[in-house]
Amino acid sequence: MTASLFFGLLVSGVLIGGLYALAAIGLSLIMGVMRVVNVAHGALYMLGAFFVYTVTVQWGLPFPIAMVVAVAAVFAVGVVVERLIVRPVRHEEVNVLIITFAAAFVLEELAKFIWNPRYKNIPPYIEGNVSVGALQVDQQRLVAFLVAVVLIGILFALIRHTRTGKAIRMVAQDEEAALLLGIHVERLHMLTFGLGAALAAAAAALLGPLYLVYPAMGWNPLLRSFAIVILGGMGSLEGTIVAGLLMGVIEVMTGYFISDRMTTVATFAVLVLIIFLRPTGLFGHPVEER
Protein backbone atom coordinates (compact mmCIF):
# COMPACT_ATOMS: atom_id res chain seq x y z
CA MET A 1 0.00 0.00 0.00
CA THR A 2 1.38 3.32 -1.03
CA ALA A 3 1.46 6.47 1.03
CA SER A 4 -0.59 8.35 -1.55
CA LEU A 5 -3.35 5.76 -1.42
CA PHE A 6 -3.42 6.01 2.33
CA PHE A 7 -3.48 9.78 2.10
CA GLY A 8 -6.30 9.61 -0.42
CA LEU A 9 -8.38 7.40 1.86
CA LEU A 10 -7.64 9.69 4.76
CA VAL A 11 -8.82 12.74 2.83
CA SER A 12 -12.04 11.13 1.67
CA GLY A 13 -12.62 9.88 5.21
CA VAL A 14 -12.21 13.36 6.63
CA LEU A 15 -14.45 14.86 3.94
CA ILE A 16 -17.31 12.49 4.70
CA GLY A 17 -16.51 12.70 8.42
CA GLY A 18 -17.19 16.43 8.45
CA LEU A 19 -20.73 15.69 7.32
CA TYR A 20 -21.09 12.93 9.88
CA ALA A 21 -20.05 15.46 12.50
CA LEU A 22 -22.68 17.89 11.21
CA ALA A 23 -25.32 15.16 11.41
CA ALA A 24 -24.29 14.23 14.94
CA ILE A 25 -23.77 17.68 16.40
CA GLY A 26 -27.50 18.39 16.65
CA LEU A 27 -27.96 15.24 18.71
CA SER A 28 -25.02 16.25 20.85
CA LEU A 29 -26.43 19.74 21.36
CA ILE A 30 -29.82 18.42 22.46
CA MET A 31 -28.18 15.94 24.84
CA GLY A 32 -25.92 18.57 26.31
CA VAL A 33 -28.52 21.26 26.80
CA MET A 34 -31.71 19.33 27.51
CA ARG A 35 -30.22 16.09 28.84
CA VAL A 36 -32.56 14.03 26.72
CA VAL A 37 -31.76 11.48 24.05
CA ASN A 38 -33.60 12.13 20.84
CA VAL A 39 -34.14 8.82 19.07
CA ALA A 40 -36.13 10.67 16.38
CA HIS A 41 -32.97 12.44 15.21
CA GLY A 42 -32.61 10.01 12.30
CA ALA A 43 -36.20 10.53 11.26
CA LEU A 44 -35.67 14.31 11.21
CA TYR A 45 -32.60 13.70 9.04
CA MET A 46 -34.77 11.61 6.73
CA LEU A 47 -37.36 14.40 6.49
CA GLY A 48 -34.61 16.81 5.50
CA ALA A 49 -33.62 14.57 2.60
CA PHE A 50 -37.24 14.25 1.48
CA PHE A 51 -37.79 18.01 1.52
CA VAL A 52 -34.69 18.45 -0.63
CA TYR A 53 -36.03 15.79 -2.98
CA THR A 54 -39.36 17.59 -3.30
CA VAL A 55 -37.88 21.00 -3.95
CA THR A 56 -35.17 19.90 -6.38
CA VAL A 57 -36.77 17.01 -8.25
CA GLN A 58 -40.49 17.71 -7.96
CA TRP A 59 -40.44 21.50 -8.10
CA GLY A 60 -37.27 21.79 -10.15
CA LEU A 61 -35.72 24.55 -8.04
CA PRO A 62 -31.98 24.92 -7.48
CA PHE A 63 -30.26 23.03 -4.69
CA PRO A 64 -29.41 25.96 -2.37
CA ILE A 65 -33.09 26.91 -2.16
CA ALA A 66 -33.95 23.28 -1.45
CA MET A 67 -31.46 23.17 1.37
CA VAL A 68 -32.82 26.33 2.97
CA VAL A 69 -36.40 25.06 2.68
CA ALA A 70 -35.45 21.68 4.17
CA VAL A 71 -33.56 23.20 7.08
CA ALA A 72 -36.37 25.63 7.87
CA ALA A 73 -39.11 23.00 7.58
CA VAL A 74 -37.30 20.46 9.73
CA PHE A 75 -36.55 23.18 12.29
CA ALA A 76 -40.31 23.71 12.52
CA VAL A 77 -40.99 19.99 12.82
CA GLY A 78 -38.36 19.76 15.57
CA VAL A 79 -39.99 22.58 17.51
CA VAL A 80 -43.38 20.89 17.26
CA VAL A 81 -41.97 17.52 18.33
CA GLU A 82 -40.32 19.12 21.36
CA ARG A 83 -43.43 21.01 22.39
CA LEU A 84 -45.94 18.20 21.90
CA ILE A 85 -44.20 15.04 22.99
CA VAL A 86 -40.79 15.64 24.52
CA ARG A 87 -41.61 18.39 27.00
CA PRO A 88 -44.36 16.53 28.88
CA VAL A 89 -42.07 13.57 29.63
CA ARG A 90 -38.73 15.35 29.68
CA HIS A 91 -37.86 14.41 33.24
CA GLU A 92 -38.29 10.69 32.71
CA GLU A 93 -35.40 9.37 30.66
CA VAL A 94 -37.02 6.07 29.74
CA ASN A 95 -40.19 7.78 28.55
CA VAL A 96 -38.24 10.23 26.40
CA LEU A 97 -36.47 7.33 24.71
CA ILE A 98 -39.70 5.42 24.13
CA ILE A 99 -41.68 8.40 22.91
CA THR A 100 -39.02 9.69 20.51
CA PHE A 101 -38.52 6.12 19.27
CA ALA A 102 -42.23 6.01 18.47
CA ALA A 103 -42.12 9.52 17.00
CA ALA A 104 -39.40 8.34 14.62
CA PHE A 105 -41.74 5.68 13.30
CA VAL A 106 -44.63 8.11 13.04
CA LEU A 107 -42.51 10.48 10.92
CA GLU A 108 -41.24 7.56 8.85
CA GLU A 109 -44.74 6.26 8.17
CA LEU A 110 -45.98 9.75 7.37
CA ALA A 111 -43.16 10.04 4.85
CA LYS A 112 -44.42 6.82 3.28
CA PHE A 113 -47.87 8.34 2.90
CA ILE A 114 -46.79 11.80 1.76
CA TRP A 115 -44.14 10.62 -0.69
CA ASN A 116 -43.97 6.85 -1.16
CA PRO A 117 -41.79 4.03 0.07
CA ARG A 118 -39.78 3.73 -3.16
CA TYR A 119 -36.09 4.59 -3.35
CA LYS A 120 -35.36 8.05 -4.70
CA ASN A 121 -32.35 9.91 -5.95
CA ILE A 122 -31.38 13.52 -5.45
CA PRO A 123 -29.37 14.73 -8.45
CA PRO A 124 -25.84 15.95 -7.74
CA TYR A 125 -25.62 19.69 -7.21
CA ILE A 126 -22.05 19.99 -8.47
CA GLU A 127 -20.34 17.62 -10.83
CA GLY A 128 -16.74 17.00 -11.66
CA ASN A 129 -13.53 16.46 -9.81
CA VAL A 130 -10.96 18.83 -8.49
CA SER A 131 -7.30 18.08 -7.97
CA VAL A 132 -5.83 18.58 -4.56
CA GLY A 133 -2.15 17.95 -5.05
CA ALA A 134 -1.89 14.57 -6.74
CA LEU A 135 -5.35 13.68 -5.56
CA GLN A 136 -8.63 13.71 -7.46
CA VAL A 137 -11.47 14.73 -5.15
CA ASP A 138 -15.15 14.77 -6.00
CA GLN A 139 -15.96 18.48 -6.09
CA GLN A 140 -19.38 17.96 -4.54
CA ARG A 141 -17.92 16.22 -1.50
CA LEU A 142 -15.45 19.03 -1.08
CA VAL A 143 -18.16 21.69 -1.25
CA ALA A 144 -20.39 19.72 1.10
CA PHE A 145 -17.53 19.46 3.56
CA LEU A 146 -16.81 23.18 3.38
CA VAL A 147 -20.47 24.07 3.88
CA ALA A 148 -20.56 21.73 6.86
CA VAL A 149 -17.51 23.46 8.33
CA VAL A 150 -19.16 26.86 7.87
CA LEU A 151 -22.42 25.69 9.46
CA ILE A 152 -20.61 24.22 12.46
CA GLY A 153 -18.68 27.48 12.71
CA ILE A 154 -21.92 29.45 12.73
CA LEU A 155 -23.30 27.18 15.44
CA PHE A 156 -20.23 27.76 17.60
CA ALA A 157 -20.36 31.52 17.03
CA LEU A 158 -24.04 31.49 17.95
CA ILE A 159 -23.44 29.60 21.15
CA ARG A 160 -20.29 31.47 22.18
CA HIS A 161 -21.04 35.04 21.21
CA THR A 162 -24.76 35.79 21.26
CA ARG A 163 -27.05 36.46 24.18
CA THR A 164 -29.23 33.52 23.18
CA GLY A 165 -26.16 31.31 23.03
CA LYS A 166 -25.16 32.43 26.48
CA ALA A 167 -28.63 31.62 27.75
CA ILE A 168 -28.45 28.17 26.12
CA ARG A 169 -25.16 27.51 27.86
CA MET A 170 -26.67 28.65 31.12
CA VAL A 171 -29.58 26.25 30.71
CA ALA A 172 -27.13 23.46 29.92
CA GLN A 173 -25.16 24.18 33.07
CA ASP A 174 -27.91 24.70 35.55
CA GLU A 175 -31.52 24.75 34.55
CA GLU A 176 -32.89 25.89 37.88
CA ALA A 177 -30.43 28.74 38.19
CA ALA A 178 -31.32 29.78 34.65
CA LEU A 179 -34.97 29.84 35.63
CA LEU A 180 -34.16 31.95 38.66
CA LEU A 181 -32.35 34.43 36.44
CA GLY A 182 -35.48 34.84 34.40
CA ILE A 183 -34.36 32.81 31.40
CA HIS A 184 -37.25 31.31 29.52
CA VAL A 185 -35.96 27.73 29.77
CA GLU A 186 -38.80 26.06 27.91
CA ARG A 187 -38.52 28.39 24.95
CA LEU A 188 -34.79 27.74 24.78
CA HIS A 189 -35.46 24.02 24.84
CA MET A 190 -37.75 24.41 21.85
CA LEU A 191 -35.11 26.45 20.09
CA THR A 192 -32.37 23.94 20.90
CA PHE A 193 -34.43 21.01 19.73
CA GLY A 194 -35.36 22.80 16.54
CA LEU A 195 -31.73 23.75 15.97
CA GLY A 196 -30.63 20.14 16.49
CA ALA A 197 -33.23 18.98 13.99
CA ALA A 198 -32.23 21.68 11.50
CA LEU A 199 -28.58 20.60 11.68
CA ALA A 200 -29.61 17.03 10.92
CA ALA A 201 -31.58 18.29 7.93
CA ALA A 202 -28.59 20.30 6.71
CA ALA A 203 -26.39 17.21 6.83
CA ALA A 204 -29.06 15.19 5.04
CA ALA A 205 -29.30 17.82 2.32
CA LEU A 206 -25.56 17.96 1.75
CA LEU A 207 -25.26 14.18 1.75
CA GLY A 208 -28.46 13.81 -0.27
CA PRO A 209 -26.99 13.08 -3.70
CA LEU A 210 -24.61 10.51 -2.23
CA TYR A 211 -27.25 8.18 -0.83
CA LEU A 212 -30.66 6.86 -1.72
CA VAL A 213 -33.62 8.62 -0.18
CA TYR A 214 -36.30 6.43 1.41
CA PRO A 215 -38.42 6.50 4.58
CA ALA A 216 -36.26 4.16 6.67
CA MET A 217 -33.00 5.88 5.69
CA GLY A 218 -32.68 7.61 9.06
CA TRP A 219 -31.76 4.68 11.27
CA ASN A 220 -28.17 4.31 10.14
CA PRO A 221 -27.35 8.03 10.48
CA LEU A 222 -29.03 7.93 13.90
CA LEU A 223 -26.88 5.09 15.16
CA ARG A 224 -23.78 6.55 13.58
CA SER A 225 -24.54 9.86 15.28
CA PHE A 226 -24.97 8.07 18.60
CA ALA A 227 -21.65 6.36 18.07
CA ILE A 228 -20.03 9.71 17.31
CA VAL A 229 -21.60 11.48 20.28
CA ILE A 230 -20.54 8.76 22.69
CA LEU A 231 -17.09 8.50 21.11
CA GLY A 232 -16.62 12.23 21.46
CA GLY A 233 -17.98 12.29 24.98
CA MET A 234 -21.61 13.09 25.76
CA GLY A 235 -22.30 16.77 25.89
CA SER A 236 -19.03 17.87 24.28
CA LEU A 237 -19.55 19.59 20.92
CA GLU A 238 -15.82 19.72 20.19
CA GLY A 239 -15.54 16.02 20.94
CA THR A 240 -18.40 15.34 18.55
CA ILE A 241 -16.53 17.04 15.72
CA VAL A 242 -13.30 15.11 16.25
CA ALA A 243 -15.23 11.85 16.64
CA GLY A 244 -17.18 12.60 13.46
CA LEU A 245 -14.00 13.01 11.43
CA LEU A 246 -12.58 9.87 13.01
CA MET A 247 -15.73 7.94 12.19
CA GLY A 248 -15.51 9.04 8.56
CA VAL A 249 -11.95 7.75 8.33
CA ILE A 250 -12.86 4.48 10.05
CA GLU A 251 -15.73 3.86 7.65
CA VAL A 252 -13.73 4.67 4.54
CA MET A 253 -10.88 2.43 5.66
CA THR A 254 -13.28 -0.41 6.52
CA GLY A 255 -14.96 -0.04 3.15
CA TYR A 256 -11.63 -0.19 1.35
CA PHE A 257 -9.78 -2.83 3.31
CA ILE A 258 -12.57 -5.14 4.40
CA SER A 259 -15.81 -4.77 2.48
CA ASP A 260 -18.34 -2.12 1.56
CA ARG A 261 -21.03 -4.16 3.21
CA MET A 262 -19.24 -4.09 6.55
CA THR A 263 -19.12 -0.30 6.97
CA THR A 264 -22.36 -0.14 8.97
CA VAL A 265 -21.26 -3.08 11.06
CA ALA A 266 -17.96 -1.27 11.69
CA THR A 267 -19.79 1.85 12.85
CA PHE A 268 -21.82 -0.10 15.36
CA ALA A 269 -18.78 -2.06 16.45
CA VAL A 270 -17.06 1.24 17.29
CA LEU A 271 -20.12 2.24 19.29
CA VAL A 272 -20.08 -0.99 21.26
CA LEU A 273 -16.31 -0.92 21.78
CA ILE A 274 -16.28 2.63 23.06
CA ILE A 275 -19.03 1.83 25.54
CA PHE A 276 -17.04 -1.20 26.63
CA LEU A 277 -13.70 0.54 26.99
CA ARG A 278 -14.35 4.17 27.73
CA PRO A 279 -17.99 5.12 28.13
CA THR A 280 -17.12 8.75 28.84
CA GLY A 281 -15.74 9.04 25.31
CA LEU A 282 -12.47 10.50 24.14
CA PHE A 283 -13.00 13.96 25.54
CA GLY A 284 -15.75 13.48 28.08
CA HIS A 285 -15.43 13.82 31.78
CA PRO A 286 -17.18 11.39 34.04
CA VAL A 287 -20.62 12.91 34.47
CA GLU A 288 -21.49 13.72 38.03
CA GLU A 289 -24.63 12.27 39.45
CA ARG A 290 -27.22 14.97 39.30
Partner: protein, 337 residues
Amino acid sequence: MRISLRRGVVLGREGWPLWAGVAVLVAMPVLAPTPYILHVFIVANIYAVFAASWDILSGYTGQLSLGHALFFGVGAYTAGLLSTLVGTPPLFNLFAGAFMAVLVGLLEGVPCLRLKGPYLGIVTLAFAEIAFSLAFALSSITGGEEGIIGIASLVRGSIYIKYYASLIFMLACTLALYALTRSKLGLILLAIKADDAAAEAAGVDTTRYKLLAFLISAFFGGLAGAYYAHYLNIANPETLAIPLSAAAITMTLVGGMGTIIGPVIGAYVLSLFFDLLPVVAGQVEFLTESRVLVYNVLIVLIVLFMPQGIVGWWRGRQAEPEVSSMRADPSRPQAQA
Protein backbone atom coordinates in the same frame (compact mmCIF):
# COMPACT_ATOMS: atom_id res chain seq x y z
CA MET B 1 -45.53 4.84 36.61
CA ARG B 2 -47.09 3.58 39.75
CA ILE B 3 -45.36 1.03 41.84
CA SER B 4 -47.23 -1.20 44.18
CA LEU B 5 -45.29 -2.95 46.86
CA ARG B 6 -48.05 -5.10 48.25
CA ARG B 7 -46.70 -8.58 48.65
CA GLY B 8 -48.28 -11.95 48.71
CA VAL B 9 -50.95 -11.07 46.22
CA VAL B 10 -51.72 -13.97 43.97
CA LEU B 11 -52.87 -14.20 40.42
CA GLY B 12 -56.43 -13.58 41.57
CA ARG B 13 -55.59 -9.92 42.00
CA GLU B 14 -56.84 -8.97 38.57
CA GLY B 15 -60.08 -10.66 39.56
CA TRP B 16 -62.65 -12.28 37.35
CA PRO B 17 -61.70 -10.71 33.98
CA LEU B 18 -58.46 -12.66 33.97
CA TRP B 19 -60.11 -16.01 34.58
CA ALA B 20 -62.82 -15.18 32.07
CA GLY B 21 -60.10 -14.35 29.56
CA VAL B 22 -58.33 -17.66 30.09
CA ALA B 23 -61.65 -19.49 29.78
CA VAL B 24 -62.38 -17.72 26.48
CA LEU B 25 -58.94 -18.66 25.19
CA VAL B 26 -59.40 -22.30 26.13
CA ALA B 27 -62.81 -22.35 24.45
CA MET B 28 -61.61 -20.42 21.41
CA PRO B 29 -61.55 -23.36 18.95
CA VAL B 30 -65.24 -23.91 19.77
CA LEU B 31 -66.17 -20.23 19.68
CA ALA B 32 -64.31 -19.41 16.48
CA PRO B 33 -63.48 -22.58 14.63
CA THR B 34 -61.94 -20.97 11.55
CA PRO B 35 -58.27 -21.60 10.78
CA TYR B 36 -57.55 -17.93 10.15
CA ILE B 37 -58.81 -16.74 13.53
CA LEU B 38 -56.92 -19.51 15.29
CA HIS B 39 -53.80 -18.60 13.34
CA VAL B 40 -54.13 -14.98 14.49
CA PHE B 41 -54.39 -16.18 18.08
CA ILE B 42 -51.39 -18.48 17.75
CA VAL B 43 -49.26 -15.56 16.55
CA ALA B 44 -50.75 -13.41 19.33
CA ASN B 45 -49.65 -16.06 21.86
CA ILE B 46 -46.10 -15.93 20.55
CA TYR B 47 -46.04 -12.14 20.56
CA ALA B 48 -47.49 -12.17 24.06
CA VAL B 49 -44.47 -14.09 25.33
CA PHE B 50 -42.15 -11.76 23.43
CA ALA B 51 -43.83 -8.63 24.81
CA ALA B 52 -43.83 -10.09 28.33
CA SER B 53 -40.10 -10.73 27.98
CA TRP B 54 -39.64 -7.04 27.16
CA ASP B 55 -41.83 -6.10 30.10
CA ILE B 56 -39.79 -7.99 32.72
CA LEU B 57 -36.71 -6.02 31.70
CA SER B 58 -37.98 -2.62 30.67
CA GLY B 59 -41.34 -2.36 32.37
CA TYR B 60 -40.58 -4.18 35.58
CA THR B 61 -36.89 -3.51 36.15
CA GLY B 62 -36.79 -0.16 34.33
CA GLN B 63 -33.88 -1.07 32.02
CA LEU B 64 -34.94 0.10 28.60
CA SER B 65 -34.33 -2.15 25.60
CA LEU B 66 -35.08 -0.57 22.22
CA GLY B 67 -33.79 -3.51 20.18
CA HIS B 68 -35.60 -6.43 21.71
CA ALA B 69 -36.18 -7.98 18.30
CA LEU B 70 -32.54 -9.04 18.55
CA PHE B 71 -33.44 -11.84 20.97
CA PHE B 72 -36.47 -12.85 18.98
CA GLY B 73 -34.42 -12.95 15.78
CA VAL B 74 -31.48 -14.78 17.33
CA GLY B 75 -33.91 -17.37 18.67
CA ALA B 76 -35.61 -17.68 15.29
CA TYR B 77 -32.40 -17.94 13.28
CA THR B 78 -30.78 -20.38 15.71
CA ALA B 79 -33.80 -22.65 15.59
CA GLY B 80 -33.98 -22.29 11.81
CA LEU B 81 -30.33 -23.10 11.22
CA LEU B 82 -30.38 -26.06 13.61
CA SER B 83 -33.56 -27.39 12.08
CA THR B 84 -32.50 -27.08 8.44
CA LEU B 85 -28.77 -27.80 8.70
CA VAL B 86 -28.49 -30.20 11.61
CA GLY B 87 -32.01 -31.55 11.79
CA THR B 88 -32.31 -31.45 15.57
CA PRO B 89 -35.82 -31.84 16.98
CA PRO B 90 -37.85 -28.62 17.32
CA LEU B 91 -38.25 -28.88 21.08
CA PHE B 92 -34.46 -28.95 21.43
CA ASN B 93 -34.18 -25.99 19.05
CA LEU B 94 -36.56 -23.93 21.18
CA PHE B 95 -34.17 -24.10 24.07
CA ALA B 96 -31.10 -23.79 21.87
CA GLY B 97 -32.59 -20.57 20.46
CA ALA B 98 -33.29 -19.26 23.94
CA PHE B 99 -29.78 -20.20 25.03
CA MET B 100 -28.20 -18.36 22.10
CA ALA B 101 -30.33 -15.32 22.91
CA VAL B 102 -28.99 -15.45 26.47
CA LEU B 103 -25.41 -15.57 25.16
CA VAL B 104 -26.03 -12.53 22.96
CA GLY B 105 -27.72 -10.87 25.93
CA LEU B 106 -24.59 -11.47 28.00
CA LEU B 107 -22.50 -9.84 25.29
CA GLU B 108 -24.52 -6.62 25.23
CA GLY B 109 -25.69 -6.59 28.83
CA VAL B 110 -22.31 -6.87 30.57
CA PRO B 111 -20.85 -3.58 29.27
CA CYS B 112 -24.06 -1.56 29.40
CA LEU B 113 -25.65 -2.49 32.65
CA ARG B 114 -22.73 -1.14 34.64
CA LEU B 115 -23.47 2.27 33.19
CA LYS B 116 -26.21 4.66 34.08
CA GLY B 117 -28.09 6.72 31.59
CA PRO B 118 -29.35 5.98 28.13
CA TYR B 119 -26.53 3.64 27.08
CA LEU B 120 -28.60 0.47 27.29
CA GLY B 121 -31.36 1.79 25.06
CA ILE B 122 -28.87 2.98 22.45
CA VAL B 123 -26.75 -0.15 22.49
CA THR B 124 -29.71 -2.51 22.28
CA LEU B 125 -30.89 -0.56 19.25
CA ALA B 126 -27.41 -0.75 17.72
CA PHE B 127 -27.03 -4.48 18.40
CA ALA B 128 -30.34 -5.24 16.75
CA GLU B 129 -29.21 -3.22 13.73
CA ILE B 130 -25.86 -5.03 13.62
CA ALA B 131 -27.69 -8.36 13.59
CA PHE B 132 -30.11 -7.03 10.96
CA SER B 133 -27.20 -5.91 8.74
CA LEU B 134 -25.44 -9.23 9.29
CA ALA B 135 -28.54 -11.14 8.21
CA PHE B 136 -28.07 -9.48 4.82
CA ALA B 137 -24.27 -9.40 4.77
CA LEU B 138 -23.96 -13.12 5.54
CA SER B 139 -26.64 -14.17 3.11
CA SER B 140 -24.89 -17.47 2.29
CA ILE B 141 -25.75 -18.64 5.81
CA THR B 142 -28.86 -16.64 6.63
CA GLY B 143 -30.52 -16.70 3.24
CA GLY B 144 -30.46 -12.90 2.98
CA GLU B 145 -33.80 -11.19 2.45
CA GLU B 146 -35.70 -14.46 2.04
CA GLY B 147 -34.35 -15.88 5.26
CA ILE B 148 -34.29 -19.53 6.21
CA ILE B 149 -37.18 -21.49 4.82
CA GLY B 150 -38.43 -25.01 5.33
CA ILE B 151 -38.02 -25.13 9.11
CA ALA B 152 -39.74 -28.15 10.65
CA SER B 153 -43.03 -27.58 12.47
CA LEU B 154 -43.00 -27.88 16.23
CA VAL B 155 -46.42 -29.51 16.32
CA ARG B 156 -47.76 -31.51 13.44
CA GLY B 157 -51.45 -31.93 12.91
CA SER B 158 -54.52 -29.76 12.82
CA ILE B 159 -54.65 -26.06 13.60
CA TYR B 160 -56.53 -26.92 16.82
CA ILE B 161 -53.59 -28.87 18.17
CA LYS B 162 -51.25 -26.06 17.14
CA TYR B 163 -53.48 -23.56 18.85
CA TYR B 164 -53.53 -25.43 22.14
CA ALA B 165 -49.78 -25.96 21.98
CA SER B 166 -49.25 -22.22 21.58
CA LEU B 167 -51.72 -21.50 24.38
CA ILE B 168 -49.86 -23.84 26.72
CA PHE B 169 -46.58 -22.24 25.64
CA MET B 170 -47.91 -18.76 26.33
CA LEU B 171 -49.48 -19.63 29.68
CA ALA B 172 -46.37 -21.50 30.85
CA CYS B 173 -44.01 -18.66 29.93
CA THR B 174 -46.11 -15.82 31.28
CA LEU B 175 -46.94 -17.74 34.47
CA ALA B 176 -43.22 -18.34 34.99
CA LEU B 177 -42.50 -14.63 34.49
CA TYR B 178 -45.43 -13.65 36.69
CA ALA B 179 -44.34 -16.00 39.46
CA LEU B 180 -40.90 -14.47 39.18
CA THR B 181 -42.24 -10.98 39.77
CA ARG B 182 -44.06 -12.24 42.84
CA SER B 183 -40.89 -13.72 44.27
CA LYS B 184 -38.16 -12.07 46.27
CA LEU B 185 -36.30 -11.51 43.02
CA GLY B 186 -39.30 -9.58 41.70
CA LEU B 187 -39.17 -7.31 44.71
CA ILE B 188 -35.48 -6.64 44.13
CA LEU B 189 -36.09 -5.79 40.47
CA LEU B 190 -38.89 -3.45 41.46
CA ALA B 191 -36.57 -1.78 43.96
CA ILE B 192 -33.96 -1.26 41.24
CA LYS B 193 -36.54 0.41 39.05
CA ALA B 194 -37.88 2.60 41.83
CA ASP B 195 -34.50 3.81 43.04
CA ASP B 196 -31.32 2.30 41.80
CA ALA B 197 -29.09 4.07 44.30
CA ALA B 198 -31.30 3.27 47.27
CA ALA B 199 -31.37 -0.40 46.31
CA GLU B 200 -27.59 -0.35 46.09
CA ALA B 201 -27.39 1.31 49.49
CA ALA B 202 -29.68 -1.36 50.90
CA GLY B 203 -27.12 -3.96 49.96
CA VAL B 204 -28.51 -5.12 46.62
CA ASP B 205 -25.89 -5.87 43.99
CA THR B 206 -27.88 -3.95 41.42
CA THR B 207 -25.61 -4.69 38.46
CA ARG B 208 -25.91 -8.42 39.04
CA TYR B 209 -29.67 -8.30 39.30
CA LYS B 210 -30.02 -6.03 36.28
CA LEU B 211 -27.97 -8.51 34.30
CA LEU B 212 -30.09 -11.35 35.63
CA ALA B 213 -33.27 -9.56 34.53
CA PHE B 214 -31.64 -8.93 31.17
CA LEU B 215 -30.77 -12.60 30.70
CA ILE B 216 -34.19 -13.81 31.80
CA SER B 217 -35.69 -11.38 29.32
CA ALA B 218 -33.35 -12.58 26.56
CA PHE B 219 -34.22 -16.18 27.35
CA PHE B 220 -37.96 -15.71 26.92
CA GLY B 221 -37.48 -13.43 23.92
CA GLY B 222 -35.35 -16.10 22.25
CA LEU B 223 -37.85 -18.78 23.18
CA ALA B 224 -40.64 -16.80 21.52
CA GLY B 225 -38.52 -16.28 18.40
CA ALA B 226 -37.67 -19.97 18.13
CA TYR B 227 -41.32 -20.89 18.59
CA TYR B 228 -42.23 -18.42 15.84
CA ALA B 229 -39.71 -20.00 13.46
CA HIS B 230 -41.07 -23.45 14.17
CA TYR B 231 -44.65 -22.33 13.70
CA LEU B 232 -44.33 -20.28 10.49
CA ASN B 233 -41.45 -22.49 9.22
CA ILE B 234 -39.38 -19.43 8.33
CA ALA B 235 -36.82 -17.13 9.96
CA ASN B 236 -36.33 -13.89 8.02
CA PRO B 237 -34.76 -10.47 8.69
CA GLU B 238 -38.14 -9.15 9.83
CA THR B 239 -37.64 -11.11 13.04
CA LEU B 240 -34.66 -8.81 13.74
CA ALA B 241 -36.12 -5.55 12.48
CA ILE B 242 -36.84 -2.41 14.47
CA PRO B 243 -40.65 -2.48 13.93
CA LEU B 244 -40.80 -5.76 15.85
CA SER B 245 -39.00 -4.14 18.79
CA ALA B 246 -41.51 -1.32 18.65
CA ALA B 247 -44.37 -3.83 18.54
CA ALA B 248 -43.28 -5.35 21.86
CA ILE B 249 -43.26 -1.87 23.36
CA THR B 250 -46.70 -1.05 21.97
CA MET B 251 -48.26 -4.27 23.24
CA THR B 252 -46.82 -3.77 26.69
CA LEU B 253 -47.84 -0.12 26.89
CA VAL B 254 -51.38 -0.87 25.77
CA GLY B 255 -51.74 -3.63 28.36
CA GLY B 256 -49.78 -1.95 31.12
CA MET B 257 -46.07 -1.73 31.80
CA GLY B 258 -44.53 -3.73 34.60
CA THR B 259 -47.46 -6.08 34.98
CA ILE B 260 -46.52 -9.15 32.83
CA ILE B 261 -50.25 -9.72 32.27
CA GLY B 262 -50.45 -6.38 30.48
CA PRO B 263 -48.30 -7.37 27.49
CA VAL B 264 -50.41 -10.50 27.02
CA ILE B 265 -53.59 -8.45 27.01
CA GLY B 266 -51.92 -5.92 24.75
CA ALA B 267 -50.86 -8.64 22.31
CA TYR B 268 -54.44 -9.87 22.07
CA VAL B 269 -56.01 -6.44 21.83
CA LEU B 270 -53.68 -5.38 19.03
CA SER B 271 -54.01 -8.68 17.16
CA LEU B 272 -57.79 -8.48 17.34
CA PHE B 273 -57.65 -4.91 16.16
CA PHE B 274 -55.22 -5.34 13.31
CA ASP B 275 -55.66 -8.93 12.15
CA LEU B 276 -59.29 -9.74 12.78
CA LEU B 277 -61.25 -6.49 12.50
CA PRO B 278 -59.91 -5.53 9.07
CA VAL B 279 -60.63 -8.99 7.73
CA VAL B 280 -64.14 -8.91 9.10
CA ALA B 281 -64.64 -5.39 7.76
CA GLY B 282 -62.96 -6.18 4.45
CA GLN B 283 -60.40 -3.42 4.91
CA VAL B 284 -57.28 -5.55 4.82
CA GLU B 285 -55.12 -3.24 2.78
CA PHE B 286 -55.67 -0.09 4.74
CA LEU B 287 -54.72 -1.59 8.05
CA THR B 288 -51.74 -3.56 6.84
CA GLU B 289 -50.40 -0.33 5.40
CA SER B 290 -51.01 1.87 8.40
CA ARG B 291 -50.28 -0.67 11.11
CA VAL B 292 -46.85 0.63 12.07
CA LEU B 293 -48.16 4.20 12.05
CA VAL B 294 -51.10 3.41 14.32
CA TYR B 295 -48.90 1.34 16.65
CA ASN B 296 -46.52 4.19 17.17
CA VAL B 297 -49.15 6.89 17.46
CA LEU B 298 -50.58 4.63 20.17
CA ILE B 299 -47.21 4.53 21.95
CA VAL B 300 -47.03 8.32 21.95
CA LEU B 301 -50.60 8.74 23.18
CA ILE B 302 -50.26 6.11 25.90
CA VAL B 303 -46.98 7.50 27.24
CA LEU B 304 -48.55 10.95 27.35
CA PHE B 305 -52.03 10.22 28.62
CA MET B 306 -52.42 6.71 30.00
CA PRO B 307 -49.02 5.43 31.08
CA GLN B 308 -50.57 2.77 33.30
CA GLY B 309 -52.23 0.87 30.44
CA ILE B 310 -55.30 -1.37 30.60
CA VAL B 311 -54.17 -3.40 33.61
CA GLY B 312 -53.16 -0.29 35.52
CA TRP B 313 -56.53 1.27 34.77
CA TRP B 314 -58.34 -1.83 36.01
CA ARG B 315 -56.26 -2.04 39.19
CA GLY B 316 -56.90 1.63 39.78
CA ARG B 317 -60.63 1.03 39.46
CA GLN B 318 -60.46 -1.92 41.85
CA ALA B 319 -58.71 0.06 44.55
CA GLU B 320 -59.80 3.60 43.84
CA PRO B 321 -59.51 5.47 47.14
CA GLU B 322 -56.25 3.93 48.27
CA VAL B 323 -54.50 4.09 44.94
CA SER B 324 -55.41 7.54 43.77
CA SER B 325 -53.35 9.05 46.56
CA MET B 326 -50.42 6.79 45.74
CA ARG B 327 -50.41 7.44 42.06
CA ALA B 328 -47.36 9.32 40.92
CA ASP B 329 -48.12 12.41 38.91
CA PRO B 330 -46.42 11.78 35.56
CA SER B 331 -46.05 15.47 34.82
CA ARG B 332 -44.16 16.12 38.01
CA PRO B 333 -40.41 16.20 37.68
CA GLN B 334 -38.69 13.31 39.36
CA ALA B 335 -36.95 14.22 42.53
CA GLN B 336 -33.36 14.99 41.79
CA ALA B 337 -30.82 15.20 44.53
